[in-house]
Amino acid sequence: MNELLALALAFPLVLGALFIVLAASTRAALFGFFAFGLFLALAWVELEAIDVALTEAAIGGGATGLLLLRLNARMRRTVSLGQPAGPQLRIVAGLLAVLVTLVLGALLLALPDPAPSLAAATVEPLPTLGISNPITAVLIAYRALDTLLEIAVLLIAVVGIRVMGAERGWAGRPVPWPAAEPSPALVFLARLLVPAGLVFAVYLFWVGADAPGGKFQASTLVAALWLLAIMAGLAPAPRTGGGWTGIALAVGPLAFIAAGAIGLAATGSFLAWPEPVAKPMIVVVELALAASVVVALVMLVAGPPEPEAGR
């Protein structure tokens, strides 16, 4: 039964990939990419990796797809994309892809089965942290430094995106899009989805302690809703250059480091969670991290700010 389900999921994945490669227009390929992301998320669910599935649906399919769609619209206005690759190049690329797949497949089959795992070790200390989802424990406790610095990567990316913009637009707002009047259907959809989605995001955030979900998934959802509101003309894009967006970006890493210092004072170990207050401290830090992630993601997708005087 499971094999049948796996096959049923693998089939649209291969088909989707083929569609993306062979699609006549970039736009069609992009919509194929959205669908592909959703099927990939379902495949992760089938593999019982719900957290990965949520991330794939939100970042892999959703945010990346949106970014590509916007890029496509922008590039058609500004530059010509040139001729598509000729058949020879496509055949070489195809052969290379097949070769890589075969080598990877062979290596995967050579891995020990059952795979060695740290899963048991991640569960044991959970009671001291007041949470029962081991994945959240890996992110916030065992490998807290990785999580903290990945947020720093997001901040670096935000600075990097601003660097790509115009010098005069170092501080400012990104161009709203679509530039024309949004359609009434989009506005209606945004009015409907944003409040409902926010409630679901709060649920995802809270449930992360005990079940799949957590700050990253919740933040991505909030960012997506914000972007929807921007597209519908209901909310402005965040303004770069200090102010409250600067506070929101900085608060995540700073709260995490402050919590680390509190852990140092209370237990003697930096980034340790003192047992009686572990859960509330984790929630506060995750809220701060969520603020940083939401603003960073919206800024990344919205693109570099435009010169304010030029508009």
Binding site: L111, P116, L145, L149, A152
Partner: protein, 490 residues
């Protein structure tokens, strides 16, 4: 092992600085916000070096009290302490040279530069002291994103094109590296270097994983044949950005390659991986030294010289035949080459930047009169060139002499010939630029602040001072090796 929080703060202090810059943007000048964090970074690196030397033991910290394989540790060993000090030295030199608080308000070139510089510092410190394969990946991500943005800082069409090319190389490298890490985890369920050292075997899966990671890191280190991104990136980046890029950024992935093949899976020198790496290094030395000779622009000449000097680093792999590679002279020679090239190349790029500011161009054939008009910068350039050529007294001389001796001892004559040929070619391209600058002429020269010229000269003199390091395996570089797993919290 000594337990110490210093390595943790060395990674986190620049991150706090980055946050402070974002918080205070528009209220305070970015230089003034960044300055205290640069001072703190310098203090932390000096303290770490002092502690490691005085205790003759590495500084270790298990974050959150979680031991590997579950948790992460940071460990500043002898090599780590030396590289943290190198990073701090170059960062301070670059900061002084880029210090220009008098120019208008912050913008891309100002706010962006200082934020990215601090981010880069954190990434480098982490890459030099992390002990976990995925932790390395986080360091590499921070490193690549900030370095790519620094290349794009100029905002010109060329700069953006070069940055995009760099980004594609760096991301391809990340994918390959992460693939290898995933395979290592699937094979051993451990990512900690000391833990892996105890259980890793040279089976096909492990070797394939390490090969993938090495190729990925080669793309980030710009080793031939994955070097295509580096010359355009250097040509269009601002001089201070070029200095950190050449002196430090390409060194971090090299160090991780070294740790994979020395700390994780030590192989005998006769096996294929060390030979292949040294072979690619040799090609890089010969090919890019010749290409450096043919460049018309000073910055591009120095960029090709970087590609050649990176080649020297990879020569060390087959030159550590002993059971304890860190006691061989090949190890000392390689690390010393890394450090002396870092300092000398930072000085050289900064000098080239000041020359560009003074003359308004950096065409090698039109430098006449520079010796009279800007002697301090030119002396710095010449001293740094001394180290690149491998002439005494300089760090480059000691490093190349150690590599040469190691090659002769190991009977690897081809490596010895490459080391010598590379030195001669370097002399040609350095003297070509110097000769042009020493010619008579009266160019129009824009004034360049004296403190900036002084900072470059000080950096170059540091490269010179490295020449007085004794000619033998250096005990400091062996501290903390072989890696020992942390058994319990102290």
């Amino acid at each position: 092992m000594t337990v110490s929080l210093l390595p943790v703060w060395a990674v986190l202090a620049p991150v706090i600085g980055l946050c402070a810059l974002l918080l205070l943007e528009g209220r305070l000048r970015p230089e003034w916000v960044a300055a205290p964090f640069i001072a703190i970074g310098l203090y932390l690196s000096i303290s770490i070096a002092y502690e490691v030397i005085s205790h003759e033991a590495s500084l270790v910290y298990a974050l959150g009290g979680w031991l590997p394989p579950l948790g992460l540790t940071l460990r500043a060993d002898g090599v780590g302490a030396v590289l943290l000090a190198l990073t701090a030295l170059v960062m301070v030199g670059v900061s002084i040279c880029a210090w220009a608080p008098a120019d208008g308000a912050g913008g891309r070139g100002r706010s962006g530069f200082w934020a990215l510089l601090l981010a880069l510092w954190s990434a480098l410190n982490l890459a030099f002291i992390a002990q976990d394969l995925f932790n390395f990946f986080v360091a590499l991500e921070m490193l690549s994103f900030s370095a790519v943005a620094l290349v794009a800082l100029d905002g010109s069409r060329d700069a953006l094109t070069a940055a995009l090319r760099y980004l594609l190389f760096a991301l391809a490298g990340s994918v390959l590296y992460l693939l290898g890490v995933g395979m290592i985890y699937g094979r051993y369920a451990v990512l900690d270097l000391a833990g892996l050292r105890e259980i890793a075997q040279a089976d096909p899966v492990t070797l394939a994983a390490l090969a993938l990671m090495t190729v990925g890191l080669m793309a980030k280190a710009a080793l031939f044949p994955l070097h295509l991104w580096l010359p355009p990136a250097h040509a269009s980046a601002p001089a201070p950005a070029s200095a950190v890029l050449s002196a430090l950024v390409v060194k971090a992935p090299f160090l991780i390659i070294l740790r994979l093949w020395v700390d994780l899976l030590p192989l005998s020198a006769a096996t294929a991986p060390p030979q292949i790496l040294a072979g690619l290094g040799s090609v890089a030395i010969l090919l890019f030294s010749i290409l450096a000779l043919r460049q018309q622009r000073l910055k591009l000449m120095i960029a090709y010289s970087t590609l050649a000097q990176i080649g020297y680093l990879f020569l060390m792999f087959p030159l550590m035949p002993g059971p304890a590679p860190w006691l061989d002279i090949g190890w000392t020679g390689g690390i010393l080459q890394l450090v002396s090239h870092g300092i000398a190349k930072a000085a050289m790029f900064l000098a080239a930047g000041l020359i560009y500011e003074a003359l308004g161009h950096d065409r090698v054939s039109e430098l006449a009169g520079l010796a009279r008009r800007q002697p301090m910068t030119l002396v710095a350039f010449a001293i740094a060139g001394l180290s690149l050529m491998g002439l005494p007294p300089s760090g480059g001389f000691i490093a190349k002499l150690l590599l040469l001796t190691a090659a002769v001892e190991a009977g690897a004559w081809w490596i010895a010939i490459v080391v010598l040929a590379g030195g001669i070619l370097a002399a040609f391209y350095v003297f070509r630029a110097l000769g042009s600058a020493l010619a008579e002429g009266t160019p129009a020269v824009a004034p360049v602040a004296l403190y900036r010229q002084g900072a470059v000269l000080a950096l170059a003199l540091c490269a010179l001072a490295l020449g007085f390091v004794p000619l033998r395996p250096f005990a400091l570089l062996a501290i903390g090796r072989p890696l020992e797993a942390m058994e319990a919290l102290p």
